[in-house]
Amino acid sequence: MAVLTAPAQREQAPPARRGPAARRRTAGYLFILPIVVFFAFFVGYPLVRSLYLSLTQWSGYGRPKFVGLLNFSQLLGDPVFWQALRTTLIFTASTMILQTALPMLLAVFLHRGWKGSVVFRTLLFVPAVISLVVTGVLWQLMYDSKFGALNGVLRAFGLGGLAHDWLADPVTVIPALILVSVWQTLGLYLVIFLAGLQGIDPTLYEAARIDGAGGRQQFFHITVPMLRRVTSVVLVLNMMNGLKTFDLIFVMTGGGPNHGSEVLGTYLYGLAFGSGAGATPALGYATAISMVVLVLCMVGTVVQLRLSKRG
């Protein structure tokens, strides 16, 4: 390609001198054209169509029936929707806190440059490269009531009384899922915080030490404020991942038991593509829920941007 076009353009160059800027403009548009076309087809149009579909009733065949805001008013009276919304928010808030605080503390720890810290970092990061599906299946095995490793470990420590089917109990299912999420993301956020710590001027700590500041004071008065930007990035990422969480919960529990771990993503997916046997797909209703997820993500982003700008 390049070999063919380059000489041709070179020959054209001298006579076309009158408009090099125009030619550059054309090149600019040509270069972004594929992205724009792909984007329009696979992001832009689907998004607009989602918006329209959320205002219809439709099972996927025939014509969608326009019903205005009926789906949204129906949502208000749908107890499963409220449960899924609550679970989504609980999951998001918990993972935001845990998946920010734990990696930050661990990063401060590892940043001291102890021997072998690279080995620890490498090992801790491994779960982050494993897909959420594999993670989900693996932990489903771990949590299994009969021979899952978790119950095995509890029995080995004489705590066999605590052993039970973690994912089938509505009380333990959400904490169990949160634990898996923490396991999966710890290494990733650790690495992000380590990168942030490397950007802090070490003379700040020296000065603080000379002034007699202890480890805790240094942490709260230097590390935390200096990491503010990184922390807000990690918080945003955690919030997004929490609000749109799907894979892990879909794989591990499918939203069960009895909607006990249902989040908005799994609920809308089940409505659209049928988790219950013989259920008619409710595409309009499902897209209405997806619009709620979208709005939550947008509101979350705006709030976060506001907060981090003020800081």
Binding site: Q9, G28, G60, L123, A149, M240, Y269
Partner: protein
Amino acid sequence: MTADTSLAPRLAVSAPRRLLRPGRVLGYLFLIALTAAMVFPLLWLVLTSLRPADDVFGAGLLPREISFDAYVRAWTQLDYPGHFLNSLGITLLTVLGVVALAALGGYSFAKLEFPFKEPIYVVLLVTLMLPATAIVVPLFLELRSLELLNTRQGLILVYIGTSLPFAMFLMRAFFETLPDELIQAARVDGCGEFAIFWRIMLPLARPGIATVVIFQFMHTWNEFLFAQTLLQTPSRHPLQPVLYSLVGEYSTDWTILAASLVMTIVPIVVVYVRMQRQFVAGLTLGAVKD
């Protein structure tokens, strides 16, 4: 005053005796315990996969005897190689498409001037935080009407389309670090715009491309929602939906399940250990989208 007295001994012991400090020993113990807990599920998985099928319910962490039977059965009964190749093919074509188009577009946004550049860029970027569940229904319908539903080509197109904005964002950032003088010099020499991009700028952006390749590879290899929804024929499935479907189908045969998981984890961990630096760069940058 008190600060002085407490500081003096600390500075005095500095380097040689550091290892003996109790805080340090406790710290190491904590780190080792935490890392062990993190690695334990993976270790346990490997041990489970090596059990003979009748030893699954056997007590004890270590299998009575080591058997590769589960791997053999996963390989043959599940057509593991076929699904692995599906994953590989889909991922490689997606990476190729994304890198080529994102590099071209990223360069254009970084180095060329044209009207409405910034608004177009902003529109492309606004959707970075878009949840996949928000567009999966219309994507399903769109592929169905294009008769691309249930084809690997359709899935690849969706992957490229949804990944391009972020990859383009990364590529723009890399191209912006390259000097403009090279472009101006090439233009004076009468070099065409595409030739400048292809022959001069693209080779210089190699580190950026490597990061995008690794990130995109990971992301596509691990993607589940679209693969599960847009491909219905089981034989065309890449690994992620296959592993998901195994849970129901083979939940009685845990060794086969464990063996398939191990075979899925090992390649990506090997790649990660070998290319750690780029992996971490890709993921820390890539995390913005994921």
